[in-house]
Symmetry: C2
Subunit: 414 residues, 2 copies
Amino acid sequence: MISSMAADHAIWPKEDDAIFGLAAKAQEAIKKYGKENVIDSTLGALADDNGDLICMKTVYDELKSMPNACFAAYAQVAGQPDFLEAVQEACFKEFRPDAYIKAVATPGGTGSVRHTIYNYTNPGDTILVSDWYWKPYVTISEEFGRKVAFYKLFNEKNEFNIESFKENFETLLNKQKRLVAIINSPAQNPTGYSLSDEEWVEVINIMKENAKDQNNKIILFIDVAYIDFAGKENERRKFFKLFSNLPENILVVVGYSLSKGYTMYGMRLGAAICISSNKDIADEFYYSCSHSSRANWSNCNRAAMEVMSRISKDPAKLKAYEEEKAIYKSMLQKRAEAFVKAANEVDLEILPYRDGFFISIPCDNAKEISDKLIEQNLFLVPLKKGLRFAVCAVSEDKCKIAPAMIKKIMDEIK
Amino acid sequence: MISSMAADHAIWPKEDDAIFGLAAKAQEAIKKYGKENVIDSTLGALADDNGDLICMKTVYDELKSMPNACFAAYAQVAGQPDFLEAVQEACFKEFRPDAYIKAVATPGGTGSVRHTIYNYTNPGDTILVSDWYWKPYVTISEEFGRKVAFYKLFNEKNEFNIESFKENFETLLNKQKRLVAIINSPAQNPTGYSLSDEEWVEVINIMKENAKDQNNKIILFIDVAYIDFAGKENERRKFFKLFSNLPENILVVVGYSLSKGYTMYGMRLGAAICISSNKDIADEFYYSCSHSSRANWSNCNRAAMEVMSRISKDPAKLKAYEEEKAIYKSMLQKRAEAFVKAANEVDLEILPYRDGFFISIPCDNAKEISDKLIEQNLFLVPLKKGLRFAVCAVSEDKCKIAPAMIKKIMDEIK
């Protein structure tokens, strides 16, 4: 009688995804009590004020007008050439760094994280992540036998904690001589924080200082999954220019996703885009990631690539797409402003929000508070260090009332 | 001055995909000399007699009629529940084995191979594959630091070489106590061979004999990517019944793909379906693969899942889909018959073809012959042990003339 067949490294707790479980509960509550009486702030996808998923018309009109062969045909392993151009354009806009840049298509942003962690670290290595973090960074690291160390995202002034970043960065690099450090900015998940350009300069200075030792290999992974909903115009892309002419032993990988900016979450498309001062290193990245793609998913969603290429190439379509996106970006910003204002009014402590889909509330007993809020039909995601409220999914009106509800429960529990 | 940043295990030759290169050359030739004067037998996708990709109308009419939210929403990590039911139905039809069965969505068949190899072997282990093989089995194994051993697919009578399979299987299992063995049947890529039900019984008997040692963990991966174009009616699914009530230390994983059967190559959807006599082992498979999915691609193409579920649930749609598929299956079988007949007429030696997209011609100097054939505008894929002709992509008329062209060049070179 045996009870296991998997290799030791592949045995995991028999647990289902917690966020999906919560989202399902929220849907049940909606059925029972009506949409107007439930605040469902669980899933990280843009919903209209009625709670329905937003699907950009400019994207889906294009998608459905395409010949069937655009869906059916295999894409190239690294991605269709015109997509790989379009995705760099969409990512950097006018702030493309002066460097060798190569992109490889990945299924969403997730694929770019896994390529970077798997290909740029060794088994047993430690990845550097902030203490407020997107959980899959840890899932991915653990899957491949890597560990995770956490730097403090904020200092006591609620700014980017450059000291904690530096300390952890240098400790790990000195030990490993090779480090993948992840920064999720702009519009961090789950806090909504975006590093300022000055903070980026500080990060780069630390990297440059440590790059003087030619034995160090520094890999910075920047997760920009939410960049299309961050800042005014393209101001949150300015920092890309700072990655021009870096020392050759600093490799920057940008994880770009079409999930949010094109409302194509379920179509699974993104890209890993590398920035290097050395052509050979950029080429190595391309072939390393292509090998990994071939060995994991073969190639990515052809139709999703085609949609982006077609919109990118046609000025009228691009303009219509940008205008539609601007409407949703503005809607999101208004919701977040409403939440932040209401939080201030009731003295609910929140982390510094700048951009994006989420706002976080620091607390010690997140699960307990979340359970109590469920009783009041407010569904949000409990994290280790607090609660994540998805402004992307909740109307402005509900964003105004949620902080008081949360604050009340927190006070009761204390 | 450094020239590499990747970890040692992630550095690969800077080579582009050879088949895509050939296919591009064939397209150039078509532009120059006209479709009627070129035989493009490179890519493994079903094309009509005009050389255009076949996109099943029943599939794409359904796809394009779906609400945008079916494309936009995230799917669950393991796959939508109704898809996971539909895919088992489509895979097994009336031959579902009596066992615990669990499925997990994967991007095409590739994802199911990678999940099985990664989760059921240890680094340094050797995977067992036949000597005529789909190259990505090796790419995947190498990516994860696994080795590959080859058994001879055919004996001197051109039947499945059960002796070679047994010998290699037992050698590896005795050494490793854990083995992933891959059988690509029915409609093997690249030979078109399908194991007979009697041959399957022999394979299972070898597994059962070796399962008597409770320390052995036997994992059989069956790649059925081409099953929807194999045999008459569902005869090529009968063998699934043989996996009922196996010893608990035999785990069968079936890799099912929607690429061919639904002409959705570029949409990247398939499933890894496990068969076990032990509920815990089936659950372990589900959670192990779910963890891997979360850590590699997060979730799969939602719209592709939805199409299969919708067709599967609606008897009228299912009937229309099956009827359309039957037309293409019949077209494919006629092409293959024409090729086999013409090969016999000119004494061109081919490997025993039963079903599917490809026919193989054994020879020692495949690259040289392929190069000469390119000069005559016949494009096929040179492999280590021979040439792969894609009947899926070539009209019946061209299938009739290709064998003589190949035979002539082979005779000239000898």
